[in-house]
Amino acid sequence: MSQVSVIIATRNRSSMLRRAVESVRHTNCSAEILIVDDASEDQTQQVCTNFSDVHYIRLKRGLGLGAARNIGLIASVSPYISFLDDDDQRIPGSLEAQVKLLEAQPEAGMIYGRALYGDDQGVTQGSYYPEHCQQGDLFWDLLRWNFIPCPTVVFRRECLTRVGLLEEEAPGVEDWDLWVRIAELYSVMAIDKAVAIWRQGTPGSGQFTSRETKLHREAHRLHVHKWLRLPRAIAAGTAQRRKISRDFAARASQQLLWTAASRLKAGRMLESARVALAGARMYPLSMSRNILSPHTLRSLSSSLETYWR
């Protein structure tokens, strides 16, 4: 039996899929590759039938990323699992190293690592995320923000039986939700090495910002209605929960403001206003606190200046 199941959910990206699959093959690990095709309308099916040793599952209806990954989970058999997006890549030897580390630590539920940023061709520029990989009990840190790049994670299958499968109706933040739930019960390991290449979307289109606000909205919803109601968060008391949500709001509003400023700089007044408004609605207090800080004011005025010019 293979050691790791790599689940690649894909939709209409047949051109990039080959690169992702090849990258997994180069990891020197007995990996089972599952491609879950979320009802693509392009040549994905033809491309996949050409691969050897790949478990190809085609959904009859487009169900979304979370549902597609869940189906991959049901079809997989290995004791360790990793998600890979169709546009990302694994770095050679990375899976093997991560599984070895995870095997040595039975109380850890998952292991993550660094992701290198890549462009559309999958070429890296040397910048990576996160700067510093924290380890241990990361439950509270993960409640503040998500610093775990999805393609770098390998987790145990048995985690899923204890915490349940992916939440399907949280588009874009289903991975974050799973990390939170795993970190509640298990410790988290990290490897201080780059293990995956992460393609960065081009933030040039309006679609990008609307997606970003949507992500923030989903995360906000989960944070309030799900994560802060997990038994461990409840047991920690009101003061701790309040502190965590304050940190969460500060972080999120800063990010939203930054997006708004960058949109403004790009000359898209309307989008910028939309993002800022969405932020003000979700986090009125920390948004106003952030917007009045000298740093933000300075960058906003400079953005406005470029905009008027």
């Binding site: 599952i57 085609r58 959904l59 009859k60 209806r61 169900l63 549902a67 869940n70 189906i71 989970l73 049901i74 079809a75 299958r157 899923l160 039986t161 204890r162 915490v163 349940g164 499968l165 939440e167 399907e168 109706e169 739930r181 509640e184 019960l185 997990l230 038994p231």
Partner: protein, 320 residues
């Protein structure tokens, strides 16, 4: 062929062994998976004493649908069956259904008859046979005119790879949602032979279906979301309107029938809430004279009995 039978359970250790034993007798090659949905009692120790059972413990309560999904995760059979922890499977029933399903390779699932039972799971004479003929049953399932009980169904595992998993947001109607999605892409087999014993819910018995009205209401609401399925989208708007109307009428019928049925037993609140939901969903249909007459008859009988009790002199205890 191997069948995985998934039993989600929550705080019912006294009923569980009966379900598990019946499941083990239901087929030659059965993998029984008990998914303990974060029970807070001694379910774990009860399961430890059961032989040949794959016991999965979920630490954070997922609801029935979530527990079924976890069971699917650890299942290894080509066919999947579900059983509630208070119901029973009949001996040999899984083998029988699997043989029928294997004869029809394109069929998605098979549903069988259900023996209705009282609270102690002793069968009454009633048998619920799924109405309709095998084949494309999408519209019938969508309209709720074919009522399927999860314990009576055996599903091909590939179906989940085509249409996805159970939706944990839909408490109590997640099974109907699943049957609809499968029936949309595959034909369905119906068979009259009884395969399981179903403990019929009573108002206030704490079973999921004892809150029938709320479930039915949720189903009608969820149907709007199922209308986004491609086959409904390509249908004409007249057809959609018809489906909506039929569903509402059927739900109103079921709810008023249940109300009339429960009234003589004194479940006034249950009956009233069910009938009010029926009225809200389909006012003209629920308030037809025939319905009202039946309701009035059972209500008056109950009231009469009550007033007699009230008027009759209380027996005095014998002196001495």
């Amino acid at each position: 062929m191997k069948v995985s039978l998934i039993i989600p359970t929550f705080n019912r250790p006294h009923l569980l062994p009966r379900a598990v034993e019946s499941a083990q007798r239901a087929g030659r090659e059965v993998e029984v998976i008990v998914v303990d949905d974060a029970s807070s009692d001694d379910t774990a120790s009860v399961c430890a004493s059961l032989r040949d059972v794959k016991y999965l413990r979920v630490d954070r309560n997922q609801g029935v649908a979530g527990a079924r999904n976890v069971g699917l995760l650890e299942s290894s059979g080509d066919f999947i069956a579900f059983l509630d922890d208070d119901d029973m499977r009949l001996p040999g029933s899984l083998d029988y259904q699997v043989s029928l399903l294997m004869a029809q390779p394109d069929a998605g699932f098979i549903a069988g008859g259900v023996m209705l039972a009282d609270q102690d799971c002793i069968p009454t004479d009633e048998v619920a046979i799924p109405r309709g003929t095998s084949g494309d049953l999408f519209w019938e399932v969508l309209e709720l005119s074919v009522h399927l009980i999860p314990g009576s169904v055996v599903i091909r595992k590939e179906c989940f790879f085509e249409v996805g998993l159970f939706n944990p947001r839909l408490a109590g109607i997640d099974d109907w949602d699943m049957w609809t999605r499968i029936a949309e892409v595959r034909p369905v087999l119906l068979d009259p032979e009884p395969v399981c014993i179903y403990r019929v819910a009573l108002p206030g018995s704490g079973q999921g279906s004892s809150i029938l009205g709320r479930q039915m209401h949720a189903a009608v609401k969820h149907q709007e979301r199922l209308f986004s399925l491609p086959r409904v989208q390509t249908a004409t708007s007249a057809q959609r309107r018809l489906v909506r109307q039929n569903t509402r009428r059927r739900v109103a019928d079921t709810l008023s029938w249940r109300a009339a049925h429960e009234l003589p037993r004194g479940a006034f609140l249950f009956a009233a809430s069910n009938f009010s939901i029926a009225l809200r969903l389909s006012p003209f249909w629920a308030a037809r004279p025939t319905h009202l007459r039946v309701l009035w008859r059972s209500a008056s009988r109950q009231l009469l009995a009550r007033s007699k009790n009230f008027l009759a002199p209380t027996p005095t205890p014998p002196v001495g």
